[in-house]
Symmetry: C2
């Protein structure tokens, strides 16, 4: 984006031939070129620093695990900010960042493994049982939140001296701050302790990220000066198209991977091929979605769900263990990297210089945004929970008021998605030199840092206060979010850790005899009659001597 507009800028300058300015531009371009290719020692230095810091974050995160307040995101963020300060001091106040925050790095390399892993490890039964509520929260809720934030920003910012922002910028701000940080949410809620809350908040987070990105892209591409019923309908239509098409693409890619691995039966030969193919096809689904301008987040999430339901059962046992842990590890490293990166980038001195002459405005903007985020979220969590509760028959399935508060609270954090969108919107002209842009970027950084650190620190104690779990021991709350593998149980157990959502034979029977959920019952029937024989899945891989199913078949006899 930057390069393209810079290119246009250079072309324009060439046409008018401003010879005296060209020499300046030259050295600027040459400097840019050197920064961009960084084929020399500087890039090696920054890679070194990042890898060493990642190691430090993992070790410190482990040591602080028993701590009641901290989590890995906050640790990484704090380490990032501290490193930024050290670099700033060492370089004599000139520069604090080794890498400029890059949308590409974030959206193309770091986000896909996180979202894919989320889909891969999510408890499918919980997720689909709450599907309607999740969609309600993620899509409708985000729209409500977006509308409130945009409206509030339009009202308040006009009274402040913010700089030149147009209607498109205001709506974009709404979309930027409507994006809940699902990464940070995953860190504070626990799938085993609070399964209902986890599936609601996390499912909402994924759908919400997708909604925000879709909204944001729509705002950037639609002509907002001529807003009428036709454009509004077109907007809604494209939203539904994106939602549906992205999901389908993810499902199709997942099924394709299951079919290919089942047909070719890689297990006979090589675990490496299976693992490689699963990884590559998962990434392919994301990047294909980006190719067709769909929402890669939704696509790779559903691809993860389908892969864990079908493909994962078609591979060898070694591949199962490897994929489970390798995906979780990649996601874990990507998460830490993002927070480290955001922390280090936060101290970029250039942007702060532009707002340092009016600290009052900056603080006001950040506070208003923070307040709007809280109000915007409250405005949909409580009404939509009420609506969702009306549809539920049994009182145990209803979302209580305390749980609603936790849902509201744990979605207040803003993270890397907001950062990336803000950079996209406010650095499009190739620089943050405009006052309005600089203020918006620094305010976004402030909101992200504040919400992640302050709200993040208070989430664990809040959950403990609102939802006391008397049966739990002290060491339990610190179980890391990803996999709690029975480390010592027989190896057989350790292969089941991801399949706790798939009932054992007797519970399958129980489920079939008492069909509590009609949709689930019919899906199960369809799955067993058509999908599993076609694409494999638990207990439906054709029996081949020496195949990975042989053992599991035996153990059921």
């Amino acid at each position: 984006m930057v390069a393209r507009s810079f290119y246009a800028y250079v072309r324009k300058k060439c046409r008018v031939r401003l010879v005296p300015k060209m020499v300046q531009l030259y050295s600027f371009v040459a400097m840019k070129l050197q920064n961009l290719t960084t084929s020399d020692h500087a890039s090696v230095v920054s890679i070194n620093l990042f890898v060493a810091l990642l190691c430090a974050c993992i070790v410190i995160g482990h040591l602080l695990e028993e701590n009641r307040w901290m989590n890995e995101s906050i640790t990484a963020l704090i380490i990032g900010v501290c490193t930024g300060v050290v670099i700033l001091l060492l370089s004599g106040g000139k520069s604090s960042h080794l890498l400029v925050f890059s949308e590409d790095l974030f959206f193309i390399y770091l986000l896909p493994p996180i979202i894919f892993n989320a889909g891969f490890q999510v408890k499918k039964k919980q997720f689909f049982r709450n599907f309607i509520t999740i969609i309600l929260f993620g899509a409708v809720g985000t729209l409500i939140s977006w509308a409130i934030i945009s409206f509030g920003v339009i009202q308040f910012f006009k009274r402040l001296d913010v700089g030149s922002l147009d209607i498109g910028d205001y709506l974009a701000i709404g979309a930027i701050f409507a994006a809940t940080d699902s990464v940070c949410t995953l860190q504070v809620l626990n799938q085993d302790e609070t399964p209902l809350l986890y599936s609601l908040v996390f499912g909402e987070g994924v759908v919400n990220d997708a909604t925000s990105v879709v909204l944001f892209n729509a705002i950037q591409s639609f002509d907002l000066t001529r807003l009428n019923t036709s454009t509004a309908l077109h907007f809604i239509g494209s939203f539904f198209y994106l939602f549906f098409a992205s999901t389908m693409l993810g499902v199709v890619t997942g099924l394709l991977s299951a079919y290919v691995i089942k047909k070719l039966y890689f297990g006979r030969h090589s675990t490496d091929r299976e693992v490689a193919l699963m990884m590559l096809m998962a990434y392919l689904s994301y990047i294909l979605a980006e190719l067709f301008y769909l929402s890669g987040i939704l696509t790779v999430f559903f691809c993860g769900i389908v892969m864990s339901h079908y493909t994962w059962h078609n591979v060898t046992e070694s591949s199962r263990v490897t994929t489970k842990h390798a995906f979780a590890t990649l996601s874990f490293v990507a998460e830490i990297f993002i927070f480290l990166y955001v922390g280090m980038d936060a101290l970029d001195i250039e942007k702060w210089q532009f707002v340092s002459d009016s600290p009052g405005t900056s603080v006001a903007v950040s506070s208003i945004l923070m307040a709007l985020v809280m109000v915007g979220r409250a405005a949909f969590v409580f009404p939509l929970s009420f609506l969702s509760n009306l549809a539920k028959k049994s009182p145990t399935e209803r979302v209580g008021i305390k749980q609603q508060v936790v849902i509201w609270w744990s979605g207040l954090m803003r993270g890397a998605v907001s950062m990336a969108l803000a950079y996209n919107q406010f650095t499009r002209s190739g620089h943050t030199q405009l006052r309005g842009n600089a203020i918006m970027i620094t305010s976004t950084i402030t909101v992200v840092l504040f919400s992640t650190v302050v709200f993040g620190l208070m989430t664990k104690p809040l959950i403990r206060l609102l939802l006391p779990q008397p049966s739990r021991t002290l060491s339990d709350p610190s179980t890391p979010k990803s996999l709690s593998v029975p480390f010592l149980g027989s190896a057989q157990d350790s292969f089941d850790f991801g399949a706790s959502d798939v009932p054992r034979p007797n519970s399958i029977r129980a489920l079939l005899t008492t069909p509590t959920h009609t949709v689930h019952y019919y899906w199960r029937k369809f799955d067993n009659a058509f999908m599993r024989p076609m694409f494999g899945g638990r207990g439906f891989v054709p029996f081949v001597p020496g195949s990975p199913t042989e053992r599991s078949a035996r153990q059921w006899e």
Copy 2:
């Protein structure tokens, strides 16, 4: 490198202020910038293509596995060339590459996982038993090969109309073509079928890569016009320093990872953290070596060996399975990627246009290089094998003449290391527009393609002809190089697959009672008395209830 020299070029131009040429330069710079940042849709398209082609390579490689001639490298190379042809036709003969061959991509991202995995999976006993021979082949042999190729090139190229090459270029050509492709070698030899040959050829390959890179860097940095005894001694000194320092760095990083994981005992909590830390520390060793201008290849190789000896035994069972397979998979994907990439880059039309007016010269240069590679390798394999055989007592340990032919043959392939070094040497002035540079680049591509495809295709049959293995069944030769896991054996077995070099209790006893190799015996003693209690390792992790060792301890009782 390219950017830096280009920067210098721009600066020079700025100083002399060649205004009319500046506009041309502008559009060139702008184009470059656009190519470099590729933040737009083009990069998404090329990522899509690459990921899809990688999937295709894996599937086709699997289908062709039973084939007597093919291997995965050749498949990827051919698919790459075919894709290049298709793109060339689609773009109307303008461009055939989506990505320009990038040294950085190769040396910073693709090579480390391959070499690390090689160290991690190598059979340590075989490797260290043949250590002297490997060093003899890898270091002394490469120097002999380099001397012969350089000398030959100086003699022959003066008679051909090659363009302006100086003494530094000739010596660099020697280093470029002295680098055996260890990646391709791994594909054609099998660790289980021919363990001695595998460890010799592969070990030589790693040391040889390192030697070539060290030689190459030395040639680029030393002033070769004033060659005397002092510079020669300095050269030899720096060579030994690099060799020793790189190895030590790898060993120290590996031991550090073992110590950290043992002390913190991540296993109690999270498999993800252990896997992440192992991966990051392995990469850290490579990138630290690059930071200190050492040989990253040697460093990461020894780091892999140390990690598999100590660190791997300190982690949970899930982590063991995951790391084994995840490292192998990463290495596998990186290998395929390299060959695909070299194949696609080979058809870059720009370079070929420069040599198309004198096809005779180009063919002559390639043939001479190919012949020199063969002669240079023969000149050290046979004499050094003779020397090495003199030192061996038992006839079974000696390297027979047939095996010598196989060693000679399987080291003839030239691969991505040669490509990367050639690009470094001959595109330093920012373009391949010079006749000599263009000829050298295209000849390197020709030699790489020819040697990989033709020699690669003939290696399997040659080995079958020279070293018949009567006891093997038909499906055996197709076992992939990496891991042949017992797919159906009990889960317990599958955790031992990487430890076949570590003897079982009774064979440990046998080994200790009959110390065949004195060095090995003392190392063993030192390892058991000091190293293992300190850094962990098989059977030496402190017993903690619920720890990964509990089960293995039990099984030994």
